[in-house]
């Protein structure tokens, strides 16, 4: 699965300058930003290298860099979209940046989802809370070439209705005939007008009971959700090799040097962040 791209930059730690061209508040403390490259050469490099699943280091000079996925799909490379929760020093600075402000991006780094291998297959996306962004990149990469895939099912849950991200896109997927969307919130998180499911993602998934036949599952979520969802998928008959997930570890360099993201022998920044469940199960569980 490892596929790395040679950097053409002399200084591998020098980021590209990006302009914020769009901002959208997804949920309390969660924001999506659309960024455009300022240097055409940086943009060319991005267009050449970016594939869905790769991540970047988003930064504000004076504050630092923070790692998250590229939330936009490989079918739309005119810009980069990222979605983050404001929690630390860097994400706070990013959240305070306005449209027109300049921020930085270093990447794209890491491996990718092997989308060509998904051609002709049914797709099951399972996601929880703030972890929809990496899944969303795959979802749109597939929906933008919908004819190449079979049935598309999306199971998405959050703690409360307010915590659901990409609400406008959820509406869009809801209305599409070629997408089956299952939405759920944790018990107690529903609003009076909530028309969808109430329950935890693994339970709802088991109720929806998608067939494992010719199906690829992509799951992203907090570690606890992933743990139980993998159990549910196993019950449903999914082979670990057909289940993909992304690991989001703390990183500083993004290029396999700083030593931070190691899980067992794996450098998440280079060999990941995309792994099959089979690969994850070989990693030391206590180190995840």
């Amino acid at each position: 699965m490892t596929e790395n791209i040679q950097s053409t930059q002399q200084n591998i730690y020098k980021p590209a300058i990006m302009k914020i061209v769009g901002r959208h508040d997804e949920a309390p403390g969660v924001r999506t930003m659309r960024l455009e490259f300022q240097d055409p050469a940086d943009h060319e490099q991005f267009k050449k290298t970016f594939r869905t699943g790769m991540f970047g280091l988003y930064g504000v000079y004076g504050e630092g860099e923070s790692t998250f996925c590229v939330a936009s799909p490989e079918t739309r490379k005119e810009y980069i979209e990222c979605t983050f929760r404001q929690s630390g020093r860097v994400t706070s600075a990013l959240a305070n940046a306005d449209i027109g402000d300049l921020v930085t991006f270093r990447g794209p780094y890491g491996n990718r989802f092997p989308i060509e291998e998904f051609h002709g297959k049914n797709l099951l996306f399972i996601s929880g809370g703030i972890a929809l962004p990496p899944t969303r990149s795959v979802i749109w990469s597939c929906l933008d070439q919908r004819e190449k895939f079979g049935k598309v099912t999306i199971v998405y849950g959050a703690r409360t209705v307010a915590d659901l991200v990409y609400k406008h896109e959820l509406d869009e997927w809801q209305e599409r005939a070629d997408v089956e969307l299952v939405l759920t919130v944790d018990p107690g998180g529903e609003s009076p007008d909530w028309k969808h499911r109430v329950g935890f993602v693994p339970t709802v998934l088991e109720e929806a009971a998608p067939s494992p036949d010719n199906c690829i599952a992509v799951i992203c979520g907090p570690p606890i959700m992933i743990k139980f969802t993998l159990i549910s998928l196993k019950k449903l008959g999914f082979d670990e090799k057909n289940v993909y997930t992304t690991l989001e570890n703390r990183m500083k360099c993004g290029v396999g040097k700083c030593g931070r993201c190691n899980v067992g022998s794996v450098y998440v920044c280079k060999e990941g962040p995309v792994f099959t469940a089979a690969e994850v199960s070989r990693m030391p569980a206590a180190d995840l």
Partner: protein, 335 residues
């Protein structure tokens, strides 16, 4: 017949190298700490110590390194790159463990993305190693299948002759040959034998340890908790290690201008792996010590086919609570 460099010619050699534009660096005993530093005269060197307290690594990977200067103006960000200082250097009198450490880290700094801060310095440095004729209780190069006269990472290997009168020369690389061509006028042919290198007893069975470490069952062994109970979680073992390479990236300055730096960091620290969410994959000291050992003897060799330890023993030598790699591997050997 081998060529020989007599100690009393060293001043001439230093002068020659310096006039050829090389900075001459070697083991130096400071007032309260030893390390590798630049000298102008041979008298500045101290060849008598087992090895300098500070590792050679810091001349290639300094504890803090400026990478970028940023200046933020309205609708514009100017960045200037800092590059590693230019200039050729000769490290005269490196220890074999320190030189090996550099070679061990080369693949890490070079896989796919090349870290120019490291390689700029590597390419401009000639490493002249002097084989060890003495060792202390903490030296363990032989346990790592290295030796007091290992050539790994060196451009030239020198073997001391009797009474510290000089060194027999073994040129190993073109870079080494070029550097010694500069001083060839001061070298003599000789058949004098070298002083035998020191015998460093083997402290543990590395193969047995690696086999144990590679067994997934031992990842959760209670051994880790026992062995690391007294670890206080400082970073002195990692910072003085000739191969530990982990770092942090930090911005210093304000919203308008400042410097982005690369600073040493350590897997011993709790915050090293802490996620923003508060989740910490390695939340206990035993998990962190396990990571350090696993990384050095299982994961790193799995990636780069070389142990991330050259047996200098600094980790054990200066540990505030008398821990270290030697003890841990000795204990593993007993399991």
């Amino acid at each position: 017949m081998t060529r020989i460099l007599f100690s009393d010619k060293l001043d001439n050699c230093i002068a020659k190298w310096r006039s050829a534009g090389l900075t001459v660096i070697g083991p130096v005993q400071g007032e309260s700490l030893s390390g590798y530093a630049a000298v102008e005269k041979a008298a500045g060197f101290e060849f008598g110590m087992v090895l300098p307290e500070r590792p050679l690594k810091e001349l290639f990977f300094p504890q803090t390194e400026p990478m970028l200067r940023y200046t933020i103006k309205k609708n514009e960000i100017d960045t200037t790159d800092f590059t590693a200082p230019q200039g050729k250097r000769i490290i005269f009198g490196a220890r074999a463990c320190d030189a090996s450490g550099l070679a061990i880290d080369d693949p890490l700094f070079g896989w796919d993305y090349k870290d120019e801060y490291w390689f700029q310095r590597r390419n401009e440095s000639v490493i002249v190693t002097i084989a060890c004729t003495k060792a202390d209780d903490f030296c363990m190069c032989t346990s790592l299948k290295l030796a007091p006269d290992s050539t790994k990472g060196s451009d030239v290997l020198l073997r001391p002759i009797d009474k510290n009168r000089g060194w027999l020369i073994e040129e190993l690389t073109d870079r080494g040959r070029e550097a010694f061509a500069i001083i060839s006028d001061y070298l003599q042919e000789s058949s004098e034998p070298a002083v035998p290198t020191v015998v460093v007893p083997e402290k543990f069975n590395l193969d047995a340890c690696v086999t144990w470490l590679q067994n997934p069952e031992n990842f959760d062994s209670k051994f880790w908790k026992e062995i690391s109970m007294r670890c206080i979680g400082c970073a002195s073992c990692t910072y003085l290690c000739p191969t530990c390479h982990c770092f942090d990236i930090q911005d210093e300055g304000d919203t308008y201008s400042g410097i982005r730096r690369k600073n040493w960091d350590s897997c011993s620290f709790a915050l090293f792996t802490m996620h923003t969410s508060g989740h910490n994959p390695r939340s206990t000291q035993s998990a962190r010590w396990r990571q350090r050992i696993m990384h050095k003897f299982n994961y790193f060799p799995g990636k780069f086919s070389v142990n991330s330890c050259s047996g200098c023993g600094r980790c054990s030598r200066q540990c505030p609570v008398d821990m270290g790699i030697t003890e841990t591997l000795q204990e593993i050997s007993k399991l």
